[in-house]
Symmetry: C2
């Protein structure tokens, strides 16, 4: 069973660990958000691509919740001695190698897709990882901060300023003139099931859907598209979706998250604590599945993946 | 006494440690070779600027002979796991912070001179460090390698290929259309003495002299210019000058090194082991001083600096 997924960072990483236990990893394609990619001190950093890679490569630091295990921060600590304001994005020493490698390849003319595949190969990731686009797309936020209106890169909002600013609007700069990376549309068209990972619908999946062609490709596969809510009990399991979803005009509930994907979903998975919302989702013509969505380990992630796949694809109707 | 120096890497670093003991560091200006600057994985690396900075900032690793003390190489070792061919330039984790900082400043529009000053300030360097130019100049070598002719960046020749190739020619790409960094010409015109450090005349001082205006500025100050031979007993104390000087058509002796600076020198310092060459240097109209030039510590470097300064400037004639 060929499965294509749309993925952001941590929620996606956890889920994909389970998915590659449910089906052979070689049958999995992951289309990853690159809207929060950022050029940091001359290096190309791809936070979501790296999260997914580190999760699937089993080098992710689950305890810290980001970056690599057994990481050190000598370079960043030293950079902080140069200029505290410059060291807000904690680049680990091992993690730096990823960025050096990627930046080197890009400088030599490789595409982001090629660099992504090379990084994944180094960590033995058997699933196919594709950036949503080879082109630069930036998720940017207009925020109110101390009476001023600031225009921030997503990472500046989220990491540098710890999501403390009131968000006025969000946009995916460059998306309208971008193209999907090679293989992205085919991976959607050719999969037996398409899974929207339990990622932030606005900051993670939103940028992917903003790349021309991807939304239409998904809509054409609607019966085979299943999404998993990253909103449980009216709050995100991780991240800041609760601050961004209202800006997008949707409520911060498992039903509101489904509304972000209007016209794209054949099925939607919500947590047992949100069971009361199932009827609302069903009423929109989306088959709503209810299960335990809290992925405390790879086994529970695998169960969730199997459940999600059971709602779409050949055997489900 | 205001002193301006022209500097390469290690020999210059050692000498400058002594010079700032002989006169107040605030009175020292160092014009540093940037011909072997290189963009490495997206980062701007300035090997000679960093050497001089680390020496003067007292963080240089004297034992290893390059880089910083108490250094680790986690990022580079990890990069080697990605691609052994990519990790040929050993970037230490602490050293990386310097390159991240510099690259960040340059990306934000700072000049190389501004970035150089900021890096020096972080290490408490009281001497003024100036890159020879804000513009990109690359020392490149044409070499014969396994029957092929390769065009190499200086660092590729020296570090990556360990100077194993036969050098056919050397050039300072971009120098002819470059300008000296702000302050360089004034520092030469306004100094009471100008010192050419015991650096490689072809690979370190040569690029500086290739920046239009610098050679003329020195020639105009000839009586006050003193150089120190980095060639002792017919071989360089460090580096690969013995391989590059023949390409420039000069013999690998303390006299040959002086010949590289024809028309620029008021005085020239050679080691006691080369005393027999003094008459040859004197015969070219350059006052030749003979002393112990082996800088085993800061005290011997200071003695060498005092000796060199005694040959030029107000008190010497």
């Amino acid at each position: 069973m060929k499965v294509t997924t749309l993925a952001g960072g941590i929620g996606a990483g956890k889920f994909l660990r389970g998915l590659v236990r449910a089906i052979p990893p070689e049958d999995v394609t992951v289309i990853v958000n690159t809207g929060d990619d950022i050029t940091m001190h001359g290096l190309h950093v791809s936070p979501d691509v790296d999260s997914v890679t580190y999760w699937l490569g089993d080098v992710f630091d689950r305890e810290r919740g980001w970056g690599r295990r057994d990481e050190t921060f000598r370079a960043t600590e030293e950079l902080r001695a140069f200029d505290p304001d410059m060291a807000w994005f904690n680049l680990g020493d091992l993690d730096l190698a990823t960025h050096l490698f990627r930046s080197n390849l890009l400088a030599r003319g490789a595409t982001l897709a090629e660099a992504t595949a090379r990084v994944a190969a180094r960590f033995g990731v058997a699933a196919r990882l594709l950036p949503m686009s080879d082109e630069r797309i930036e998720t940017r936020l207009s925020v109110a901060a101390d009476g001023d209106e600031l225009d921030l890169h997503f990472q500046e909002y989220w990491v540098r300023r710890a999501a403390r600013d009131e968000v006025k609007s969000i946009r995916y700069e460059g998306a309208d003139r971008s193209r999907p990376a090679p293989g992205v549309l085919d991976a959607i068209a050719g999969a037996e099931a398409i899974v929207l990972c339990p990622s932030n619908p606005v900051a993670s999946i939103g940028p992917i859907l903003a790349v021309p062609g991807i939304r239409d490709a998904l809509a054409a596969r609607r019966p085979d598209v299943v999404g998993i809510s990253g909103i449980v009990g009216g709050a995100p399991l991780a991240g800041m979706a609760d601050k961004l979803m209202p800006v997008a005009g949707v409520e911060v509930t498992a039903a509101g998250a489904a509304a972000c994907y209007e016209g794209l979903l054949g099925a939607w998975v919500i947590d047992e604590v949100d069971a009361a919302l199932a009827a609302r989702v069903d009423a929109t013509g989306v088959r709503c599945g209810v299960t335990d969505t809290i992925m405390v380990d790879d086994a529970t992630a695998e169960a969730l993946a199997r459940f999600a796949l059971s709602l779409v694809g050949p055997g489900s109707r």
